[in-house]
Amino acid sequence: MLIERAAYGNRWRSVSPAAKGLFALAGLLAALFSGSPATAATIAGLLMLASVLGAAVPLALYLRVATPALGFLALSSLSLLFSLSADATGNLSWQMAPNAAANIAAVSARSLAALAALLGLVLTTPLPDLIALLRRLRVPDVLLDLMVLCYRMLFVFSTAIEETRTAQAARLGYSTPRRSLNSLGLLAAGLSVQVWQRARALHLAAEARCGSGTLRFLTPQFQHAGRDTALAGLAGCLLLVIGACAR
């Protein structure tokens, strides 16, 4: 996963997740409350520069991660371009929506700014650090256990899927749409059997170590956490001020 690669190898890796979370939260709020498309686009640009220049996330990787979301945004915006209306006889017809350009500009700029805030967080912070942050924020243990287990097992399942698909493809399992659907059904069924097998094995392993409750791990420590959080707070306030100024 590209996001994982960037999250473990950027300049802000050792910065406290609380600081990065605070900055991202301010970015999201500034995006949602930005008064004009130009302001939202400015916030998006600033957040992108923070990730690329501040955290040294490679620009090519940043764009590769953002591209699917941008494509999705383009498609979503397209749906706002047209309007469906009925005439006097009840016939439906498609037409250009009034003020479509202004609406699309506002929604797209807001989405871009919010996406830049999200990417700024996920491209600089590995998921285990975010889970540790959620634990500090007193998210229920059951939910955190689900996250820890999900994170650990999803790579196991990804490998299983890759190997099974390779084996199926080698036997022409994906040569026609009909065969593809059948192969996919067998693949998903095989995986769903593994859910019970792997869960049973994990439970046995935990019981063998007297594990009967929540899954606890050492909380990672970050130097200069207070300073980083204060700086992130200031930068976040700046984003909010930029967003509020144009209202």
């Binding site: 996963m1 996001i3 994982e4 999201l28 949602l32 409350f33 991660v65 953002a66 979301a69 999705f72 945004l73 979503s76 749906s79 047209f82 309007s83 469906l84 209306s85 929506a97 009034p98 003020n99 929604v107 807001r110 989405s111 871009l112 700014a113 919010a114 996406l115 999200l118 990417l119 996920v122 975010l130 059951v142 939910l143 689900l146 996250m147 820890v148 287990l149 994170y151 097992m153 999803l154 196991v156 399942f157 990804s158 659907l181 996919l184 059904g185 067998l186 998903a188 069924a189 995986l191 769903s192 059997v193 859910v195 019970w196 792997r198 869960a199 049973r200 994990l202 439970h203 009967s212």
Partner: protein
């Protein structure tokens, strides 16, 4: 069918998050009660979340010739129950936002409401109704998965129509517009996912009938059908 990050205005993002919160609390409470009786379920649900996440990354061939990703809404509801799907769906949607930049944090509440609340409950309800009417298992599974998927899309269309009412036709005009777009793109996908879920359940019946029989929504009649 995710709504992307920042696409919904603040009031809507907040409103859907508030609407989803009681379901999350109920789902967590239900899991906690379940875990006291069966502690081994803790691992099962975590592994189920990973399964749902990886399943949603698979490419599903559509009946129109294109392809997309399965939502896993129906299959998840049938295998793990709709109540468990709320927290499991929350984790999956959060991970999709954090690891794939798919969906988002501000739209998490809205996406959760459509994909982890409405879809699974419709799927489980239809499956129960079908079994109560003694319909064949494959028909029940297909209806649950395909219509659970469609219910998800309809909810998303309602969410978008509410957030972006048509300047001329208002909410109804906008709902008709989003409904028409989804009808073209999502009905074929729902049919494909229904077929896929039938294949999965058939394969499970063939190779793991015992495991299937232990599931709350299946039981004796489901395994024998």
């Amino acid at each position: 069918m995710h709504i992307m990050e920042g696409f919904l205005p603040f009031e809507h993002a907040l409103g859907w998050t508030i609407a989803a919160t009681p379901f999350i609390a109920w789902g967590l409470q239900s899991i906690k009660k379940h875990l006291r009786e069966k502690p081994e379920q803790r691992m099962l649900l975590g592994v189920a979340a990973a399964f749902s996440f990886t399943l949603s990354a698979l490419k599903l061939p559509s009946v129109t010739g294109s392809c997309s990703h399965p939502t896993g809404v129906g299959l998840g509801a049938l295998l793990f129950g709709p109540a468990a799907m709320v927290p499991v769906g929350l984790v999956v949607l959060l991970f999709q936002a954090l690891l794939l930049a798919h969906g988002g944090l501000t739209t998490l509440g809205a996406n959760l409401f459509s994909m982890a609340i409405v879809g699974p409950f419709v799927a489980a309800g239809l499956f129960r109704a079908g079994r109560a009417l003694a319909l064949p298992l494959s028909a029940c599974v297909f209806a649950a998965a395909a219509l659970g998927d469609l219910a998800t899309y309809v909810t998303t269309a309602i969410q978008l129509a509410w957030a972006f009412p048509d300047p001329a036709g208002g909410f109804a005009g906008s709902l008709a517009k989003f409904g028409a777009i989804f009808a073209i793109t999502q009905i074929p996908l729902a049919i494909s996912e229904g077929l896929l879920t039938v294949l999965v359940v058939n394969a499970l019946r063939r190779f793991n009938a015992d495991e299937l029989q232990k599931l709350p929504l299946f039981g004796q009649r489901g395994a024998k059908a």
